[in-house]
């Protein structure tokens, strides 16, 4: 089904795509180690079959779902998105996946569900990076419901016409192209619908540096990296970073009336 997934042209960028080798050998996936080359080296220890996702909280269809329960192959589509890491580098990635809203609608969140929280697998036997508390494992991320339902938000299962390699977050991960990469949580094993804003890992670790929203914003400075510029992998020089990573037209409305310096 991956090679046949139709390209969603309206939501895809036409910029040159980052090499498959770069996409799969330069990863932040701290469960396998903090070096960019660690995930490729060690992620093969993660078993992704069978895979199940626990759905809980303010939702009608709570329960444990297998990968096949969630992912209907005929729903898969291809989308080419920019990916901007908070560390000041960026890539252009041809993802394959299902828009998250399709899956959320099937799960039928209740009227109390205002946020969604996601959790990454934390298996000490398969993930050597868990031996050191870089973060408070398991890794958690979250979105406001309208962000989760936005047409750009993708539950990705593939990359370049093939299923996701483990280092990229197999078998299923989130992709939110207007936010810093750490929001796009990998290897998801739990989805929780909540009334209150859920805990997210980087925000919990350093709330002054990593906000809950973490929208790409060149005007909000960061104590470690310039957010005004970024290096597109493969380029020698940096380029200017764009508001909402260039997706302002699509998503700016989600935040109208909010001070993005406060809610960064």
């Amino acid at each position: 089904p991956y090679a046949q997934a139709p390209l969603n042209k309206a939501l895809s960028t036409e910029e040159p795509q980052t090499d498959y080798k770069a996409l799969t050998s330069y990863n932040n996936f701290y469960e396998f180690g903090t070096d960019k080359s660690d995930p490729k080296r060690y992620a093969s220890a993660m078993e992704t079959e069978p895979w199940s996702v626990k759905v809980s909280g303010a939702v009608e269809k709570a329960g444990t779902y297998s990968f096949d329960d969630l992912i209907t192959p005929s729903d898969l589509e291809s989308r080419i998105y920019r990916l901007r890491c908070v560390e000041g580098w960026s890539m252009v990635v041809p993802w394959i996946g299902i828009p998250l809203h399709k899956i959320i609608r099937r799960l039928q969140p209740t009227s109390k569900a205002r946020y969604v929280q996601f959790e990454t697998l934390a298996n000490r036997k398969m993930m050597r990076g868990l031996r050191f508390p870089v973060l408070d494992w398991p890794y958690k991320e979250g979105l406001r419901m309208d962000e989760a339902l936005h047409p750009l938000t993708l539950l990705a299962t593939g990359l370049y016409d093939a299923p996701l390699p483990n280092q990229n977050g197999a078998p299923l991960r989130l992709v939110i192209p207007w936010k810093y990469g750490f929001k796009s949580i990998k290897s998801i094993v739990a989805i929780r619908f909540t009334e209150k804003q859920p805990v997210t890992s980087w925000n919990q670790f350093a709330p002054s540096e990593y906000g809950f929203y973490a929208n790409v914003n060149p005007e909000v400075r960061h104590p470690r990296w310039s957010q005004a510029t970024e290096r597109r992998i493969g380029d020698f020089r940096r380029r200017d970073s764009l508001m909402f990573n260039g997706y302002a037209e699509e998503v700016a409305g989600l935040y109208s009336g909010m001070d993005l310096r406060t809610y960064f």
Binding site: A22, Y26, V134, L135, P223, R224, A228, R237, R238
Partner: protein, 213 residues
């Protein structure tokens, strides 16, 4: 071995060994710019900054370790190499700065200024460089004479500040709870505390017999 032998053989060997990381980095960038496969990976500037930064820290640690090591073995000969190691620390911090400013920022000085103003770890890094600069400039015997030994010695205590700032630079750079910068910081702290301990107690190192190696 005599002092003269250590000087004649030891210095060139040490010089060669301490040059190797810089040599490697130069070769990799040369390969990169000629479009050849190289060891700089997917994000060459990042690798280059990190590599030169780590080696700066290692050289600084080595330079700070010379005196405690001489005291430990109760022999003066290690002190012969201290200036060279210190100059290598300055050399690597220059390579590091060159990598960051020349290759990463592509000589965008307004970006450098923003980095200094907005990112405290850059401020620490620049501070460490500025501490080492006058030490490298006054590293010759002529300068010891010109300044007088006590003043020269006092000036060269700036290396402690450089070590402290370099450790902070690395600690404040990483994201997440990471072990590596803490290890470097712990080693530097130990080497500085040793000096504090000595200055409170026994004073300058006295060797049992300075002629014996």
């Amino acid at each position: 071995m005599t002092t003269a032998q250590i000087r004649i053989f030891g210095k060139p060997i040490l010089f060669f060994m301490l040059s190797l990381p810089a040599l490697w980095l130069t070769v990799q960038w040369a390969l990169y710019f000629s479009g050849e496969p190289n060891g700089l990976g997917i994000n060459p500037q990042e690798i280059s900054n990190r590599f030169s930064g780590r080696w700066t820290l290692r050289m600084l640690i080595l330079a700070l370790a010379v005196s405690p090591f001489a005291a430990l073995i109760n022999k003066p000969w290690p002190l012969m190499f201290r200036r060279m190691v210190g100059l290598f620390a300055f050399f690597y911090v220059t390579v590091h700065l060159g990598s960051y400013l020349g290759l990463d920022l592509a000589l965008d000085f307004s970006a450098l200024w923003r980095d200094i103003m907005e990112r405290v770890y850059i401020l620490f890094g620049v501070g460490a460089f500025l501490c080492l600069l006058p030490l490298a400039a006054t590293s010759t015997k002529g300068w010891i004479k010109r300044l007088g030994a006590p003043r020269w010695k006092a000036l060269h205590r700036l290396v402690y500040m450089a070590g402290l700032l370099a450790a902070l630079h690395f600690l404040f750079l990483v994201k997440g709870n990471r072990l590596e910068p803490k290890i470097y910081a712990a080693i530097i702290a130990a080497l500085l505390l040793w000096r504090l301990y000595r200055s409170l107690g026994s004073g300058p190192i006295k060797f049992g017999d300075s002629h014996l190696l």
